[in-house]
């Protein structure tokens, strides 16, 4: 099915996108729905985007549910490992 479910957030950072160029990331769109490329019926999809730069200013990832959970844990572990004074 199309879940239609979409969660959006603002982001501050950069991503390496089309033509190997970096761009400023301002928005994240996260949804669990059909992937475009991954070999699974549904995946956790994240778009790192800058809508002001147009539709192609986007880095897309499609992860299985298990991989997405592992990513969450890995991100949390990486953040936890850094000294507090660096995380501003």
């Amino acid at each position: 099915m199309c879940t239609y479910a979409t969660v959006q957030t603002t982001l501050e950072g950069s991503a390496k996108g089309p033509q190997s160029s970096w761009f400023h990331v301002t928005d994240g769109t996260i949804y669990f729905d059909h992937p475009v490329h991954a070999m699974a019926e549904h995946t956790l999809n994240i778009d790192f985007a800058n809508p002001a730069k147009g539709p192609s200013a986007r880095v897309a990832v499609e992860l299985t549910a298990a991989s997405a959970r592992e990513l969450i844990a890995a991100i949390q572990a990486a953040l936890d490992s850094a000294p507090a004074e660096l995380k501003v």
Binding site: C2, Y4, A5, T6, H34, M39, E41, A49, P55
Partner: protein, 253 residues
């Protein structure tokens, strides 16, 4: 001597701009047999991942079956000229396609194929996945002759609370269904579930709306999608035969 057939070996496929909802200019993919003659039209509604290569292959297949086939790019307004996946992502981030806009775009596409020289005036609509629901929606609101719903979720049933795209079921519109409906579903699908398919069947029967439903074993959602793991060759092949027969009955002549 060449045997007579409705299959078309020689096709013309192109991308053009037509008038969609409220006269908006929208991109469409148009494929049609090159030979002269009288034939019906088919409006293809693309799935949520977009106006992509596999959808265009479907459009060309309808042309091969002998129809003037057209697919509106539902995301043209939000992302003109973008890659299909980027356009789908942009449209999703902006809240999706409103039902009223979809109805207007299908009406514009149907009017365009009816204006073509070979048109016999009859036009069908078909949609896959989210487009399945939109196909039924169009068939309740647009002057058409036949409709096909391929595993559309939320024709009946209630979406979970908090859906950002605000999709709703369209049970209240079913009394307005104007055309025969062919429904093709997978028994292993959960949206629509076999229970929801049965509910839709019962509602249409109670409303005395002509419909023909087929549910396939060993098939779930998106069993027509040749580039996805959900593809099921037996269900897809039989489904294509059902579609061809259904459109021949209602769009021929």
């Amino acid at each position: 001597m060449v045997e007579s057939t409705s299959m078309s070996e020689s096709l013309c496929a192109e991308t053009i701009i037509i008038s969609g909802n409220e006269g908006d200019e929208i991109e469409v993919y148009l494929a049609r047999p090159t030979e002269e003659g009288s034939r019906g039209g088919v409006v293809v509604i693309h799935h949520m991942p977009g106006y992509d290569r596999t959808t265009k292959e479907i459009v060309r297949r309808f042309a091969e079956l002998g129809y003037d086939a057209i697919c509106p790019n539902l995301y043209w307004r939000q992302a003109p000229g973008a890659a299909p996946d980027d356009a789908a992502a942009t449209a999703r981030a902006q809240g999706g396609v409103p039902d009223e806009q979809l109805i207007g775009d299908v009406a514009g596409a149907a009017a365009y194929v009816r204006s073509l020289p070979a048109s016999n005036g009859k036009v069908g609509v078909i949609g896959y996945c989210s487009g399945g629901r939109q196909s039924v929606l169009a068939a309740c609101n647009v002057d058409l002759n036949a409709a096909v719903d391929c595993y559309g979720a939320f024709v009946v049933g209630t979406p979970p609370e908090g859906f950002p795209l605000k999709v709703t079921n369209i049970v209240d519109q079913l009394p307005n269904l104007r055309v025969p409906l062919l429904g093709l579903f997978g028994k292993e699908d959960s949206h629509p579930s076999p229970e929801q398919v049965a509910e839709l069947d019962e509602i249409l029967t109670s409303l005395d709306k002509p419909h023909e439903f087929h549910s396939y074993d060993d098939a779930g959602h998106a069993f027509f999608a040749v580039d996805r793991p959900a593809y099921r060759v037996a269900a897809a092949n039989d489904g294509w035969e059902k579609i061809a027969a259904f459109f021949a009955t209602h769009l021929g002549g």
